[in-house]
Every structure is written in structure tokens, then in C-alpha cells.
């Protein structure tokens, strides 16, 4: 492909939120007739950069050039007028209005009397041209998610956008719909549009894009021709090859299997399959690491394992006792603990104080009640004891936990979940967003639980962490286990990268 001129060119974009650089000096350009993928993990700064491009955010520093001319977008309207359109993950359509009514939303130049016929004719032309067929007379709420996405894309084409930004467009699609979308994207490329394809899915990026820009922790790692790199290289750039730091870890004294999941199949929140016949076993006194690109079924797996998500099929055993179909409360007792990734959303009640949050998972216990009443004194005593042991820094036990820092929030949750003598711990992203000190602390506590004989499932996107802590390491891709490494220290980034990109481990399992 000959290098065509840039439609837009972002230079040195920096955007800071509350002192954290979401984008740090990023260059990014889109050329006519290309699909440019923007790849990165959650929180790498992809959305921030695109929100700058489509006029939602104003950068702290940096310039935007449109066909060589420097411009500044004050509002999304400016960006749309300049031919830049974004299809957000939530499509921003009006559900009660029809497809053709949605087309003209927020657009000028139609006069007071609308010519529905002309609008529908134009929709028909665009639909033929790009393979985006949809009935213009139907109200949007009657359409499937895939069709709604087509409407959102049509709307951008209708407003004559030259640059189309698609934010994780396949996340809501079935595989068939995704193939259709890719066909549309190829048409757009042929027609000379510039398409930005935001994703963290390696295989899709490899399939559809001409160039790919990789972001990591707010910085640009590289921009490369897609044809010149393999998925494993992309995975490495996205996650980073890191030096494994020394963690003071004793040799595993693993014992018998205590927790067993057989052939689990579950759906995600959009009723699409998230796990397809996944099996795993946790042994006494081990940390089983689970690596994988975010969104490959990790959340659904954790929720299924602790009874928070209904199984379509499969069985779960704890110490040979069948737990399939049991309630959350049967699962999450003294023996089985769960540290959800979403601390503020699931694990804690931000508006409540430390006592009320500490007792959330065992408020019904004899120790914390007096008849129908809560024994808040006993709760306060326990909360004081564990928060001290887990080094939670707080002005008092009576402040709402939303006032605590991220590290202290996580310590509070660990204090609740790791206190006592857990047999099984399901920990999801336990060090996500924490500073170095808090991260080390959390890791030590997980190792401590392991040494006391707990079976720990550690789900993380941080390979460094997984390699440092895990006794065994599994890789998940699209709801399936791609392979299980009995000795993670011998794993190479390449092998892991391949598995994370969806290639199953072929060599026979060692050990066992």
C-alpha cells in the first residue's frame, strides 16, 4: 500500500485526570483508505485518546491536524463537522425513534420540513454501498444489538464522516455479526475512509487492520504495519515483557484437589457464551494463575465459581461436596472467599463505613448479632482488629469507605476476605490500580493464605505478577483454557503470548 496522506494527525497528545496521565505525549494519525487499530489493555488510554479526537475531551497539551491544517475541537459538533465520527460502545441512538429519524439527529441542513423520502433514499444508497442493510422505518428499540450498531455506523456515513472511530465494536456482536462488520470495514477502506478500530482482541486486530498502534499505561509503545508482526509480538507489546521481581516465596507444599470445576458453560451479561466447557482444579496450598487478555471470560468464570452466576451446564465440587446450583451464601462462607475486581461496584458499599463494609460478608453470623439486632460493638471490635492486622489507614472506622484511597480499600477487602482460615480464595485483579507498596502487601497476603493451605485462583492481566506468584499457570481465551503450565518459571513470554492470542498449548503437559 502506498502511504496516502493523513486525514487526521494527532501530535503529542497529553491528557491528565486527577494527576494521572491517561495519555502521555501520544502521536497518532489516520490515513485515507486504511484501518488503523488502536490496541491496549483496559486503562491503557485508548478511549481517552479517541475522546480527544472526537471532541469530547480537550487535551492538556498537543495538536490536532486535519489534512495538514492545525485545528482545535471545542465540541463533538466541531469534530463531526470536520468529518470525524465515533461509534461508541453505547450507540447513543434514540430507541423510540425510527432508523431514519435517528439519522438526522443533531444534523443541520434539513430545513424545517423533512423530506423523509430523500432521507430514506440516501439510507438505501449507503446501505447498498457498505452492506449495512436495515429497514429505515423500524423503531430502533426493535433492532438487535448488531443492527443498532449498523444504524450507528450508517449515521456517521450519513453525516459524511471521513474518519470513523469504532470503540470495541465486536464486544457486543456474535461471531457472524462480527464477520459482517469486517466486510463493511473493508468496503469503507476501499471507499477511501480512514477507520480507527479500538480493541484489545489480538486476532481481530490481526485480521482487519493495516496498521496498529499499541498503547500501554497511557504511553504509545509503537505503531507498526500489522502484516509485519505476529500476535505474540503484539501481545508482548501490549502487556510488556517485564522482569520477574523476586518474591519471597516458599516452595509449594501442594496437596490434594480441594475445588473442582467441570465443563462449565455460562453466559455473559449480554447472553452470549462466556465460558464454553471450561474445567479447572485447585489444589491445597497452591496459587493457580489465570492469564489472558481481559474480556475472555475471566469475570464470568470467577462469578460462576462462587455461585454468583448461573451455570448453563457443568458442575462444581468443593472437597468432593457438590456445590452446583448452591446459593451465594452456601458458597461464600468461612471456607470459600472471593475478591472481586470491581471493588467499589461489587465488593464494597462506598457510602457505608468501615464497620458496615467489614461485616458485609458475615453480618448474619452469631458473633455479630443480638437477636434480630446487629451487635455493632462486636462488629467494631472485629473491624478494628483486622484493619490493624491488614494495615488499613483510616481516620476512624466510622467514615464512609469512599473516602479511603484505592490501596486502603483493597486492604479492607482483603482484611475481610483473607481473615481466618480460608480453604479456597478466588482473587480477581487484586493489585489492579494499586501503588507499589500496596501491591507488595496484597501479594504477601495472598502468599500467606497459600502457606496456610488455601487453594488460590489468581486472575490477573499482569503477567509479571502471575509469573512471580503462580505455582501453576493457565491461560484463558474465549472462555476456554488454552493450556496449563505446571512450571510457570519455565514459561516464555512467546508461549504465553501465543496462548493468549488463542493458540492452544501443543506440547504434552509436563508433570502430572
Amino acid at each position: 500500500m502506498t502511504a496516502s496522506p493523513s486525514l487526521v494527525d494527532l501530535r503529542g497528545i497529553t491528557k491528565t485526570f486527577l494527576g494521572v496521565a491517561a495519555n502521555d505525549d501520544i502521536d497518532f494519525d489516520v490515513r485515507a483508505g486504511e484501518v488503523h487499530a488502536l490496541l491496549g489493555e483496559n486503562g491503557a488510554g485508548k478511549s481517552t485518546l479517541m475522546n480527544v479526537l472526537c471532541g469530547l475531551y480537550r487535551p492538556d497539551r498537543g495538536q490536532i491536524f486535519l489534512s495538514g491544517q492545525e485545528t482545535a475541537f471545542r465540541t463533538p459538533r466541531d469534530a463531526i463537522a470536520a468529518g470525524i465520527g465515533m461509534v461508541h460502545q453505547h450507540f447513543m441512538l434514540i430507541p423510540v425513534q425510527t432508523v431514519w429519524e435517528n439519522m438526522i439527529l443533531g444534523q443541520d441542513g434539513f430545513g424545517f420540513v423533512l423530506s423523509k423520502k430523500a432521507i430514506c433514499r440516501r439510507i438505501g444508497e449507503l446501505a447498498d454501498q457498505y452492506g449495512l442493510h436495515v429497514d429505515p422505518e423500524v423503531p430502533v428499540w426493535q433492532l438487535s444489538v448488531g443492527e443498532q450498531q449498523r444504524v450507528a455506523i450508517l449515521r456517521m456515513l450519513f453525516s459524511e464522516a471521513k474518519v470513523l472511530i469504532l470503540d470495541e465494536p465486536t464486544a457486543v456482536l456474535t461471531p457472524q455479526e462480527a464477520r459482517q462488520l469486517f466486510a463493511t470495514l473493508r468496503r469503507m477502506r476501499e471507499e477511501g475512509h480512514g477507520v480507527v478500530f479500538i480493541s484489545h482482541k489480538l486476532d481481530e486486530v490481526a485480521e482487519i487492520s493495516d496498521r496498529v498502534t499499541i498503547l500501554r499505561k497511557g504511553r504509545k509503545i509503537n505503531t507498526v504495519r500489522t502484516s509485519g508482526v505476529g500476535p505474540e509480538e503484539l501481545a508482548e507489546m501490549m502487556i510488556g515483557s517485564r522482569v520477574v521481581p523476586a518474591v519471597n516465596k516458599r516452595a509449594a507444599v501442594t496437596g490434594e484437589t480441594v475445588f473442582r470445576a467441570q465443563e462449565l458453560s455460562v453466559l455473559n451479561d449480554k447472553d452470549l457464551p462466556a465460558l464454553e466447557g471450561l474445567s479447572l482444579e485447585l489444589r491445597r496450598g497452591e496459587i493457580l494463575g489465570l492469564a489472558g487478555v481481559d474480556g475472555n471470560g475471566q469475570t464470568e468464570l470467577c462469578e460462576a465459581l462462587v455461585g454468583l452466576r448461573r451455570l448453563q451446564s457443568g458442575r462444581i465440587f468443593f472437597n468432593e461436596r457438590e456445590m452446583t446450583g448452591a446459593s451465594v451464601r452456601d458458597f461464600l462462607g468461612d471456607d470459600i472467599r472471593y475478591i472481586p475486581a470491581d471493588r467499589r461496584g461489587t465488593g464494597l458499599v462506598p457510602t457505608m463505613n468501615l464497620r458496615e463494609n467489614y461485616v458485609l460478608r458475615h453480618y448474619w453470623r452469631e458473633a455479630f448479632r443480638k437477636g434480630p439486632f446487629m451487635n455493632w460493638e462486636a462488629v467494631a471490635g472485629q473491624t478494628g482488629r483486622v484493619t490493624e492486622r491488614f494495615d488499613v489507614v483510616t481516620p476512624s472506622l466510622g467514615v464512609p469507605v469512599r473516602m479511603l484511597s484505592g490501596g486502603n480499600l483493597q486492604k479492607l477487602m482483603l482484611a475481610r476476605e483473607l481473615d481466618g482460615n480460608p480453604r479456597v480464595v478466588v482473587a480477581m485483579q487484586p493489585t489492579w490500580g494499586l501503588d507499589v507498596g500496596a501491591t507488595a502487601f496484597v501479594r504477601e497476603r495472598l502468599l500467606e493464605a497459600r502457606e496456610k493451605g488455601a487453594a488460590v485462583l489468581l486472575v490477573s492481566e499482569d503477567l509479571e505478577e502471575l509469573l512471580a506468584l503462580s505455582d501453576r499457570l493457565a491461560v484463558i481465551h474465549k472462555g476456554r483454557i488454552m493450556g496449563l503450565l505446571e512450571d510457570p518459571r519455565r514459561a516464555t513470554e512467546e508461549t504465553l503470548g501465543l496462548m493468549m492470542a488463542g493458540r492452544p498449548l501443543t506440547s504434552p503437559k509436563e508433570g502430572d
Binding site: 454468583l308 451465594v328 465488593g347 464494597l348 462506598p350 461485616v359 453480618y363 434480630p372 439486632f373 446487629m374
Partner: protein, 355 residues
């Protein structure tokens, strides 16, 4: 210069009571403008309202009479609101309670007040409770929006009331007026010190105390607070959210049902249409002004009662329509809700250059 809005991370303590007060004052100020437009001196009008409602013993007693159903309904909706279930149907639940109490008098007229009154309390609470629990069941079972169902069921209850008083329960001696016969003495709640203040007052105080205790100290209260503030965390803790929606709406409706019983047994001594002048709706404002605190609801109800009694005075002395008082109430709610914005956000000025 430009205005900039920022999310507030910690709310100053004074705002808990300061914001409602400021909202109230601003509502009165705007109300003054409206009164001015009606050609009335706002100072004189407000003066008359205060004199009529708080100026003497009679005024105060009448204010308390109005405050009783408002407080009970306010407590009722506050309970549901604590769980972030929007019970807009206290008015209908109040009517259901009054209907059930009247039915008890009609079909089981017991001689002893020590049996009759408890029976009326029981059936009124059950009727109001079931009326609300039905909406709760629809929500728990099929996620039907409770705002719509509780609101619509108000009208069913009110029309049901009219059916009975115009139809089967009409007093044959009423010369055609839509009234039931007066209750026998055992079915009347005693009144205090020769005023119209009835024992419903103690009911309201008792419910406020119980609610405060339950919400703060009981396991059940803890559960509904968690469900209200973070339903995902509630699921994580294994709380039975659906079950709580039905039960809490039942209790909420039961409290509103008690208010209805108080009105017919304590005040009117019979059932008649329009016996509630929208207490169940006023209650929503009250619960919000009181930030769902049961004791604060008692205080705010007293002021709302004063506003209603003062409004009556306005009608009589200054010949103003009842709707002018309702406009005042609406203004208060409007300003209180607007005040919420300032709890969550702060607005600051900044120069264009830093933008």
C-alpha cells in the same frame, strides 16, 4: 469568567440541615413573587399563615392533626426510599387502609374499644401493605417499574373508595351525601385535651421510633440499606433482594395504611371521599426534605402541617385559592431537589484563560 461544575468528594456536615433550610427559604421567596402577582402582600400572607397555624393553641393543634397522616406516610415512603424503591403510592395505600378499617367497623362491630381498635389497626395495615406489596411483587418477579404501578394504584384505590361511599356503604340517612354511617364509639380513636388531635399521634411517634431503631440496629435494616446503596454488593453478600422488595413495600404500605385508619377513626369518624388532601403525595416531599431520617420526618411533617393549616387561613382570610398553597408545596420540592445537586457537585468560577 466561566462556571465550572466539579464532583464533590466530601459533603460538609452543615449541608445536611443547611441545604433543606436554604431550599425552603428560596421556595418561600419565589412564592412571595407569585403572591405579589396575585395582588397580595407576601409579608401579610406569610404573617397570616404563621398566625393561623402556629399563633395559638387551636392553630397548633390543627397543625398537629394535619401532621399525623403526613408523618405516617412520610415514614412509609422513607422506608421504601431507603432501599431505593420508589413508592409513590402512599396515597393509595392510605385509602386502602381507611377502606379496610371502615369494612372492619361495618362487618365486625365489636363492643370493646380494646378489641375494635386493634382489629382496625391490623386490617388497615394489612390492606395498605398488600396494596403496596402487589407492586413489589410485580417488580421482584418481572421487573415492572414500581413508580408506574404504585402511582397508578393510587387511582384504583381512590376510585374504589368512591364506589363504596357512593354505592353499597352509603349511609341511608345521609340525604344523598356520599358518606358512610358514623362509626360507633368503640371504633373511634380517643382525642387529646378536647382538641382534634387523636391517638394517631402516638402511632406516628411509635413508628418513627421503631423505624429508626430497625434501620440503624437491626439485621434487616442493614440489609435494606446495603440493597439500596449497592445492589451488586447485596448480591455478593447473598442477600435475597426480591424477597426484600416485597417485604419492604408491604411494611411501607402498612404504615401508610395506618395513616388512613387514623383519619377515619380518629378524625372523621366515617369514610367520605376526599378525606385525604394528598397526604401521600406531600409525604414524598417530606421524606426527601428529611433526608429519610425518621425523626426529621416528624419535624418536617409538623412544618408541612403548618403550611396546610396556614393555607386554609389564606383561603379564608385572603380569599386565595387552595391551589396557591399547592404551588408553594411544589416550589419547596423543586428547590429541595435542586439543592441535592449542590450536595453532589460544587460550582466554581474560573477564568477563561485556564480553560
Amino acid at each position: 469568567m466561566a462556571l465550572r461544575v466539579e464532583k464533590r468528594f466530601d459533603v460538609p456536615r452543615w449541608m445536611d440541615w443547611g441545604l433543606p433550610l436554604i431550599s425552603f427559604a428560596l421556595a418561600l421567596a419565589v412564592g412571595a413573587l407569585l403572591l405579589g402577582l396575585l395582588g397580595v402582600s407576601p409579608l401579610k400572607a406569610y404573617g397570616e399563615m404563621i398566625r393561623g397555624s402556629l399563633g395559638d393553641g387551636y392553630g397548633i393543634s390543627e397543625t398537629i392533626v394535619k401532621a399525623i397522616p403526613i408523618a405516617l406516610c412520610g415514614l412509609a415512603v422513607a422506608l421504601a426510599f431507603t432501599m431505593v424503591v420508589w413508592n409513590i403510592g402512599a396515597e393509595g395505600q392510605l385509602v386502602a387502609g381507611a377502606l379496610a378499617a371502615t369494612a372492619a367497623v361495618r362487618f365486625f362491630p365489636l363492643e370493646s374499644p380494646f378489641l375494635m381498635i386493634p382489629l382496625m389497626v391490623l386490617v388497615a395495615a394489612a390492606a395498605g401493605g398488600l396494596w403496596a406489596a402487589f407492586a413489589g411483587w410485580l417488580k421482584a418477579r418481572w421487573s415492572v417499574n414500581e413508580i408506574i404501578t404504585t402511582l397508578m394504584m393510587n387511582y384504583i384505590a381512590i376510585l374504589g373508595l368512591e364506589y363504596f361511599v357512593y354505592g353499597p356503604w352509603r349511609d341511608p340517612m345521609s340525604l344523598g351525601f356520599p358518606l358512610t354511617p358514623t362509626f360507633h364509639d368503640a371504633a373511634r380513636l380517643p382525642q387529646l385535651f378536647g382538641t382534634r388531635v387523636h391517638y394517631g399521634l402516638f402511632l406516628a411517634l411509635l413508628v418513627a421510633f421503631l423505624l429508626r431503631t430497625a434501620l440503624r440496629w437491626s439485621r434487616w435494616g442493614y440489609e435494606i440499606r446495603v440493597i439500596g446503596q449497592n445492589p451488586r454488593a447485596a448480591a455478593y453478600a447473598g442477600m435475597a433482594t426480591s424477597h426484600h422488595i416485597v417485604l419492604t413495600l408491604f411494611l411501607s404500605g402498612a404504615i401508610a395504611g395506618l395513616a388512613g385508619m387514623g383519619e377515619v377513626a380518629g378524625l372523621q369518624g366515617r369514610l367520605q371521599p376526599g378525606f385525604s388532601v394528598g397526604y401521600g403525595f406531600t409525604a414524598i416531599i417530606v421524606a426527601w426534605l428529611a433526608r429519610l431520617n425518621p425523626f426529621a420526618i416528624l419535624v418536617v411533617s409538623f412544618f408541612m402541617g403548618a403550611l396546610l393549616v396556614g393555607g386554609d387561613t389564606l383561603q379564608v382570610v385572603m380569599r386565595l385559592p387552595l391551589s396557591s398553597v399547592q404551588v408553594l408545596q411544589g416550589l419547596i420540592l423543586f428547590f429541595v431537589l435542586a439543592g441535592e445537586f449542590f450536595r453532589n457537585y460544587k460550582v466554581c468560577l474560573r477564568r477563561r484563560e485556564d480553560a
